[in-house]
C-alpha cells in the first residue's frame, strides 16, 4: 500500500528548528519576559527518611545521601519539611495517597463505579484559569501505563487511582502521555494546524481558515449530535455524554485559542532534539530522560506553562536491575524491613531519582532566556506522597521546591514549616504565584509562609 506522507513524516528530521517560524508567527504578540512556569514531579514509593532529611534545625543543612546528586544545585531549591496530606492518614499505603498529592482531597474507597478523589488537582486548577494562554493548557507525562483491576488485598481500591496525579475534577483523571514520540508530536501539533512544513505561511488568513474550517465544522456537527442525545436521555448519574461534550468543547477552545494570537515567549536560538522513535524506549533510564527532555522542550517553546511528570505510578514494580547491585522491582524494594542489603538497594533507586532531577534542573538552569535562566522563571516541585516507603507514613513528606519563581522564591535553604502543616498551604502559595487569586485550596489553612 502506498504510504501517504503523514504530518509526522513531515516533522521527522526537521527537528524543532523548522517549527520556529510558526511559533514566531503565532506569537504575533510576544511576551517581553519569560512566563512563570510550574512543574510537578512525582516519585512513587517514598524514601529512606534518614537518608533524606538532614539533621539539625537551621536554615542551612548538610546534603544527605538521597540529596547528594543535587548538591551542585543546593542554592537552587528549598528543602521543604513538615508538610503532609492529612486525608491520607491511617489509610492504605498508596491508592488513597497518590491521587491527592496535588489536591489534598479524600479518596473514596471504590472498585471503580464511582471514582472520587475529592478535589481537583493544582495543575488543573491553574489550567482552569490560565489554560487558554498557551496551545496546551497543561502537559501530563509519565512512564507507566495505568494499572488495571482492583486491589482487594489492599482494601478494595481501583488501581487506576494510583496512576494519576492530575484530576480535572474529583471523578475524572487526566491521562498522561507515556510514549515519547506521541508526547513530542503533541507539542508541535495543534488541532487547527496540520503541520509546520517548510514554506507554510500560517499568517495568511486564507491558509488559516482553510486549515481550520473543516475540523470546526465537524466538531460543531458532533456537538449538536451530543446535545440531541443528551436531551433524549437523562439519568441521575454523571453522564458520559457530558464528558464527551466537554471534551469536544475543550478541543474547540484550543482551536479558538490558537486562532487568537496568544502572547507567547519566544526563545532565541535552537534547542536541538530529535523526534523520538516510536514506542516505549528499551530502557527505563532512556525513557525517563526522553520524557524530561520533552517536558523541558514544552516550556522552552512556551507550548505550556504547567506540567506534571510521574516517574512511576503507585506501587510501580519498575525493574531497577540496571543500577549496580540492585535486583528487583521498586515497590518490593521499598518494603525492605530495614534489612541492610535490601535497604541499600532501595536507597540506590531513590537516589537515582534525585540524579534525574539534577539532570533536569541543570538543563533548565543552562537555558538562557534573555538574561535569566529557565529555572529562575520556574517553580519545580519534586517529591513523594509517603515519607518512609517501608512504613507508608504520610507525615513530613519528602519534598523540594526548585527555582526562583521569577523572584518569588528564595532557594538555597530549608524551610521547616510547623509540624503537620497541610501540603495544600504550599499549593495555595504556588497557585497565587501563578496569578490566581484564591485564598483557599484543598484543605489549606493558609499560605505557606517563608518561601520568599
Amino acid at each position: 500500500m502506498h504510504k501517504p506522507i503523514s504530518r509526522r513524516t513531515l516533522l521527522r528530521g526537521t527537528g524543532v528548528a523548522l517549527t520556529l517560524p510558526w511559533l514566531e508567527v503565532m506569537a504575533a504578540d510576544k511576551l517581553a519576559e519569560p512566563p512563570l512556569r510550574a512543574a510537578f514531579m512525582f516519585m512513587p514509593n517514598g524514601v529512606n527518611p534518614l537518608h533524606w532529611t538532614p539533621p539539625g534545625d537551621g536554615d542551612d543543612y548538610e546534603m544527605t545521601p538521597h540529596l547528594q546528586p543535587l548538591a551542585g544545585l543546593k542554592n537552587d531549591f528549598i528543602l521543604l519539611e513538615n508538610l503532609w496530606n492529612k486525608n491520607a492518614v491511617g489509610r492504605n499505603g498508596h491508592w488513597p495517597k497518590d491521587p491527592i498529592w496535588l489536591s489534598g482531597g479524600y479518596v473514596q474507597r471504590t472498585t471503580g463505579s464511582d471514582l472520587d478523589v475529592g478535589a481537583i488537582s493544582l495543575d488543573q486548577k491553574i489550567a482552569q484559569h490560565r489554560g487558554t494562554e498557551t496551545p496546551l493548557p497543561t502537559f501530563e507525562l509519565g512512564i507507566d501505563s495505568p494499572r488495571s483491576g482492583i486491589d482487594t488485598a489492599g482494601g478494595g481500591f481501583a488501581r487506576i487511582y494510583g496512576s494519576f496525579i492530575s484530576w480535572r475534577d474529583p471523578h475524572t483523571p487526566v491521562p498522561k502521555e507515556i510514549v515519547p514520540q506521541l508526547a513530542f508530536d503533541r507539542l508541535f501539533r495543534n488541532p487547527s494546524i496540520s503541520s509546520a512544513t517548510a514554506g507554510l505561511d500560517p499568517s495568511s488568513p486564507a491558509v488559516m481558515a482553510s486549515l481550520q474550517r473543516d475540523d470546526t465544522s465537524v466538531l460543531d456537527l458532533v456537538l449538536e449530535d451530543a446535545k440531541r442525545l443528551r436531551r433524549q436521555g437523562s439519568t441521575a448519574d454523571r453522564n458520559k455524554l457530558d464528558e464527551y461534550f466537554e471534551s469536544v468543547r475543550s478541543v474547540e477552545q484550543r482551536m479558538e485559542a490558537a486562532m487568537r494570537p496568544q502572547k507567547r515567549w519566544i526563545n532565541q536560538g535552537k534547542l536541538p532534539m530529535e523526534r523520538p522513535a516510536p514506542g516505549i524506549p528499551a530502557t527505563h533510564a532512556e525513557h525517563v530522560k526522553l520524557m524530561l527532555d520533552i517536558l523541558l522542550l514544552s516550556f522552552w517553546t512556551d507550548t505550556t506553562r504547567v506540567a506534571t511528570f510521574m516517574f512511576g505510578d503507585a506501587q510501580t514494580q519498575q525493574d531497577y536491575g540496571f543500577l549496580p547491585g540492585v535486583k528487583g522491582g521498586f515497590h518490593s524494594l521499598s518494603h525492605h524491613l530495614n534489612e541492610e542489603a535490601k535497604l541499600a538497594q532501595y536507597e540506590k533507586v531513590v537516589t537515582w531519582h534525585s540524579a534525574q532531577m539534577a539532570y533536569f534542573l541543570n538543563r533548565m538552569k543552562s537555558i538562557d532566556e534573555g538574561g535569566r535562566n529557565m529555572l529562575d522563571s520556574s517553580m519545580v516541585l519534586y517529591g513523594s506522597t509517603l515519607k518512609d516507603g517501608n512504613r507508608h507514613d504520610p507525615e513530613n513528606l519528602p519534598l523540594l521546591l526548585a527555582g526562583r519563581g521569577k523572584g518569588t522564591l528564595r532557594p538555597g535553604r530549608r524551610l521547616r514549616a510547623p509540624v503537620l502543616t497541610p501540603l495544600c498551604n504550599l499549593h495555595l502559595a504556588l497557585l497565587q504565584r501563578m496569578g490566581i487569586k484564591e485564598d483557599r485550596f484543598g484543605d489549606s489553612t493558609g499560605v505557606l509562609a517563608g518561601l520568599a
Binding site: P175, L182, V222
Partner: protein, 751 residues
C-alpha cells in the same frame, strides 16, 4: 433456595443474626449508631428487618471488612469482623430476590480500545494499531475494561479520535492525485499582450492560489520559452517563501522548455509562485503534480467497498450518490437505524466541501470524518425508556450488547438484520444468536479479554515477571506470551465444546507449546510452538491453579507467597476476599527465613502465633501451602531453602489436604460458590458496570440454572444474554449505589 457458603464462617441463618451478629454490632457500634442515629442499622431487631435497609446493611459489611469501621480503638476481634461481614453478605445474597427483579440503568459508554479497533476493522476493512496512540483504558466495576464508568473521554482522547478519523479515511479512500496546469494567462489576467506567454522580469513574481488535499511531495513544473543565449534560473515560492530553484538550460529544444522542482506541501490552501532571477522569463504555464507511489490492492478494495466504484470514477450525480453512501455508512457506524435528518446534516458537510470544489472523494471524506468522531459512533448510548420500571431495550441496543459482549465489535449483518426486523427480543432467536456468535471464531476475543482480566494473567510477562538472568534459559518473552495464552486456550475449549465450567478448576488437560513443555519440565513428545491439547499425566496441574501464569502472578520476586496465593484463590476464584491487613504492616520478608535456615512456611507459621494476624492468615496461608510445590515461576519443586517442601494444610472448617491435588478436591467442595463468583464476573463484563445489591437475585437464578444443566459454559453465557438485566433497562435505576457515607476522619494529633 439453597445457599452455598464456603463453610468457613458463620452460616447465614436468621438465628445467627440474633445470637451472634447483632450482639457484636450492638457492642461495637451501638454507642454511636443507636436506633435514633441517622445511620440506624441497629434498628433491625431480626434478620427479616434487614430487608428494609438493604443498602445500609451492605455498607455495614463493606465498612467492617474494609476496617473503616468501627474506629480505633476497636474491640472487635478479627474473627468477629470476618463473621459479621460474611454473614451480612450471605444474607443479602440469599434474600436478593425478595425485593423483585432489577435491570440497571440504560448504559452510556465509550468504546474501549479493543472495541474501537475491531469496529473500525469491520466497518472499513482497516486494522489500525490504536493501542499505540490512544491512552490506555481504565478498568473498574467488576474489574474489566468494559466498565462504562471508568472509560473516560478526556480532551486528549478526543484529539486522537479526530486524528485517527483522518488517518483511517486517508488510508481507505483514494483521492485522485492532483494534477493541475495553470496557464500563464490565468495567472496574469491583467496582462494585455497577446499570445500564450507572459513575461516575468527579474525579481518579479507570478503566482497562483491552489488547494492541495494531501500532505506530500508535489512537482512544480514551469514551462518557459526557449532561451538561446543563457540558462534561465527561477525560484519556486510556496506561500511567499523560497522552496527551491530550477534551471532551464539553453537550447534544450525547440519550442517551450520545462524544468521541474519538487516541493513538500502540507494539506491546505497555498500560493504557488515563480520568481525570475537574473534574466526575464517568458512563461507558458505552471503545472502542479502530486507524486504518489503505487496504490495497494488492499486500499483499492477498501475504496471499492465504500464507494462501490473504482477509484477515479465519478458518479453521474455525485450528490445523490454521496447521500446514498453516507446513509449506508451511517447506519453501519451508528449500529442502529438513522433518520433522514441525521443523514442530511452530514450531506451538509459534503456540500461545504463541494462549494470549494474539493474532489468528490474529499467531500465524502469530510462527511465520514464527522461520523467517526460523532457520539453515536464513539459511544454506545442507550436511550432510557420514558416509562418507569423495567423496560425492554430496543432490538438494536440488544444487538449491540450481545455483539460487544461476545465479539468486542459491532453487530454483523445477520444481527443487524434481525434487529431491523424486531426479532431479537424473542428468546429463541436470541438464544440461537448466542450459539452462532459463540461458534464464530470471533468469540475468541471474549475468552481472551475475559479470562486475562479476571485472573489477572494478562499482566504476566509485563508487570509480573521481570526478565532476569538466572531464568533466561527457560523463561523468555515468548514463554511469557504462551503462559498468558494457556488459560485463554482452556476457556476457549470449554466454550467451544460446551464443557463444564468446573474444568477451569480441574481440567485434566491443557494446551501447551514446545516452549511450555520445556518450561514445565515435562516429558512430552510435543513439537512446535502451535498450541496443542495434551492430557495431564496426573492431576497436579489440573485447572488454572496449576498454570504457570497464575502461580507466577501470585508470587513475590524470586520467592513464592502462600499468602498471596491464598488471598488470590479466596478473592479471584471465590469472591470472598479477606479484609486488607491493618494499615502500615509491611509484607513478610523471606530473607529472615533464609538467615534462620527455616522455610518460608515455618516463618509464616511463626507469624500466625499473633492472634490478630491468625484469623485471616489461617484462611489464606494453608491454601498457599498446598501450592508450595510450585516455585515462584510455577515450576515444580520438592525443596525450599534446602528443606523438603511441606505442602500440607488445614482450613479452619476442618478440611485437611496435602499437596495441590487434595487442595483442589477441597476447593471443589465449594464449586457452586466458585460458579456464583464466575457468574457475577461474566455478568459484570457483559453489562459493563459494577453489579449492585439487587443484581444478586439474577446471579443466583443464573447459578441455579447452570448447576441444573451440568455447569455448562454455554448455558451460563446464554442465560446471561437472556437475563432481565441484559435485555432491559430501568429508568429509575442508578449506575452506582449511593456512595458510602464518608467514614469519620481519624482525630488529628495536636500540633
Amino acid at each position: 433456595m439453597i445457599i452455598f457458603t464456603i463453610g468457613l464462617w458463620l452460616a447465614a441463618t436468621p438465628e445467627a443474626f440474633t445470637q451472634t451478629v447483632r450482639p457484636v454490632l450492638e457492642q461495637n457500634c451501638g454507642a454511636c449508631h443507636s436506633a435514633k442515629s441517622r445511620v440506624n442499622f441497629l434498628k433491625a431487631a431480626t434478620a427479616a428487618d434487614i430487608q428494609a435497609q438493604r443498602g445500609l446493611w451492605r455498607n455495614v459489611a463493606t465498612q467492617i471488612r474494609n476496617r473503616t469501621m468501627p474506629p480505633a480503638p476497636a474491640k472487635i476481634t478479627e474473627a468477629e469482623r470476618l463473621d459479621v461481614a460474611h454473614w451480612i453478605d450471605d444474607r443479602l445474597r440469599e434474600t436478593a430476590c425478595d425485593a423483585g427483579s432489577f435491570a440497571g440503568p440504560a448504559l452510556v459508554k465509550r468504546l474501549n480500545r479493543r472495541e474501537y479497533r475491531n469496529t473500525i476493522r469491520d466497518l472499513l476493512g482497516l486494522d489500525l494499531a490504536v493501542n499505540e496512540v490512544f491512552p490506555a483504558d481504565g478498568t473498574g466495576g467488576e474489574g474489566f475494561d468494559t466498565n462504562g464508568e471508568t472509560l473516560y473521554m478526556p480532551p486528549l482522547l478526543m484529539e486522537r479520535y479526530l486524528e485517527a478519523a483522518q488517518q483511517i479515511l486517508d488510508r481507505v479512500i483514494i483521492t485522485p492525485p492532483l494534477n493541475r496546469t495553470i496557464s500563464a494567462n490565468a495567472m496574469r489576467p491583467d496582462y494585455t499582450g497577446t499570445g500564450p506567454r507572459r513575461p516575468v522580469l527579474p525579481g518579479d513574481i507570478i503566482s497562483v492560489p491552489l488547494t492541495v488535499y494531501a500532505d506530500g511531495d508535489y512537482e512544480v513544473r514551469v514551462l518557459q520559452e526557449r532561451s538561446d543565449q543563457h540558462p534561465l534560473t527561477y525560484t519556486v515560492l510556496l506561500d511567499g517563501k523560497e522552496a527551491g530553484t530550477g534551471t532551464i538550460p539553453r537550447y534544450e529544444s525547440k519550442g517551450p522548455n520545462g524544468a521541474t522542482r519538487v516541493v513538500r506541501v502540507s494539506k491546505g490552501s497555498h500560493t504557488f509562485g515563480v520568481r525570475a532571477n537574473e534574466y526575464p522569463l517568458e512563461i507558458y504555464s505552471l503545472t502542479l503534480t502530486q507524486r504518489v507511489g503505487e496504490v495497494s490492492s488492499e486500499k483499492r478494495a477498501a475504496h471499492y467497498r465504500l464507494f462501490q466504484m473504482e477509484s477515479g470514477e465519478t458518479p453521474l450525480n455525485p450528490r445523490v450518490a454521496a447521500r446514498r453512501l453516507i446513509a449506508r455508512f451511517l447506519r453501519q457506524a451508528f449500529r442502529r437505524p438513522v433518520t433522514d435528518a441525521e443523514v442530511d446534516r452530514l450531506v451538509a458537510l459534503y456540500d461545504r466541501a463541494a462549494v470549494r470544489d474539493d474532489p468528490y472523494e474529499e467531500r465524502v471524506k469530510l462527511a465520514l470524518k464527522a461520523v467517526l468522531v460523532s457520539p453515536s459512533f464513539l459511544l454506545r448510548a442507550e436511550q432510557p425508556s420514558a416509562k418507569p420500571g423495567i423496560q425492554p431495550l430496543t432490538d438494536h441496543e440488544l444487538a449491540n450488547r450481545l455483539s460487544y459482549f461476545l465479539w468486542s465489535t459491532m453487530p454483523d449483518a445477520e444481527l443487524a438484520s434481525l434487529a431491523d426486523q424486531g426479532k431479537l427480543q424473542d428468546a429463541k432467536v436470541l438464544a440461537a444468536q448466542v450459539e452462532r456468535l459463540l461458534d464464530d471464531p470471533r468469540s475468541r476475543v471474549f475468552a481472551n479479554s475475559f479470562i486475562g482480566q479476571w485472573l489477572g494473567t494478562k499482566d504476566v510477562g509485563g508487570r509480573v515477571a521481570p526478565t532476569i538472568n538466572d531464568v533466561a534459559d527457560f523463561y523468555t518473552p515468548e514463554v511469557a506470551a504462551d503462559l498468558r495464552e494457556e488459560p485463554v486456550m482452556l476457556l476457549q475449549h470449554i466454550i467451544g465444546e460446551n464443557r463444564s465450567l468446573l474444568d477451569l478448576l480441574n481440567a485434566n488437560y491443557t494446551y501447551l507449546t514446545e516452549r511450555l513443555v520445556r518450561f514445565y519440565q515435562l516429558d512430552l513428545p510435543l513439537k512446535g510452538n502451535v498450541f496443542q491439547r495434551v492430557q495431564w499425566p496426573d492431576d497436579r496441574r489440573a485447572g488454572v491453579l496449576g498454570m504457570g501464569a497464575v502461580l507466577a502472578l501470585t508470587s513475590s520476586f524470586k520467592q513464592t507467597s502462600p499468602v498471596l496465593r491464598g488471598a488470590w484463590v479466596l478473592d479471584t476464584l471465590f469472591g470472598t476476599p479477606v479484609p486488607p491487613p491493618p494499615p502500615d504492616i509491611p509484607p513478610l520478608d523471606a530473607t529472615g527465613a533464609r538467615k534462620q535456615k527455616i522455610t518460608l512456611r515455618q516463618k509464616l507459621l511463626q507469624h500466625r502465633e499473633n492472634q490478630t494476624c491468625a484469623t485471616c492468615h489461617n484462611l489464606m496461608d494453608p491454601i498457599g501451602f498446598g501450592l508450595e510445590n510450585f516455585d515462584w515461576m510455577g515450576r515444580w519443586r520438592t525443596q525450599d531453602n534446602g528443606q523438603p517442601i511441606d505442602s500440607a494444610g488445614a482450613l479452619p472448617g476442618g478440611d485437611r489436604f496435602n499437596g495441590p491435588v487434595e487442595l483442589r478436591a477441597v476447593l471443589l467442595k465449594r464449586q457452586d460458590e466458585f460458579l456464583r463468583h464466575l457468574t457475577a464476573k461474566v455478568m459484570g463484563y457483559a453489562l459493563g458496570r459494577a453489579l449492585q445489591d439487587a443484581d444478586h437475585c439474577t446471579v443466583q437464578q443464573l447459578v441455579d440454572t447452570v448447576v441444573k444443566d451440568g455447569y455448562r459454559a454455554r448455558t451460563l453465557i446464554r442465560e446471561i444474554a437472556l437475563s432481565v438485566p441484559f435485555r432491559h433497562s430501568q429508568a429509575d435505576a442508578r449506575l452506582a449505589e449511593p456512595p458510602a457515607a464518608p467514614p469519620k476522619r481519624q482525630k488529628l494529633p495536636e500540633k
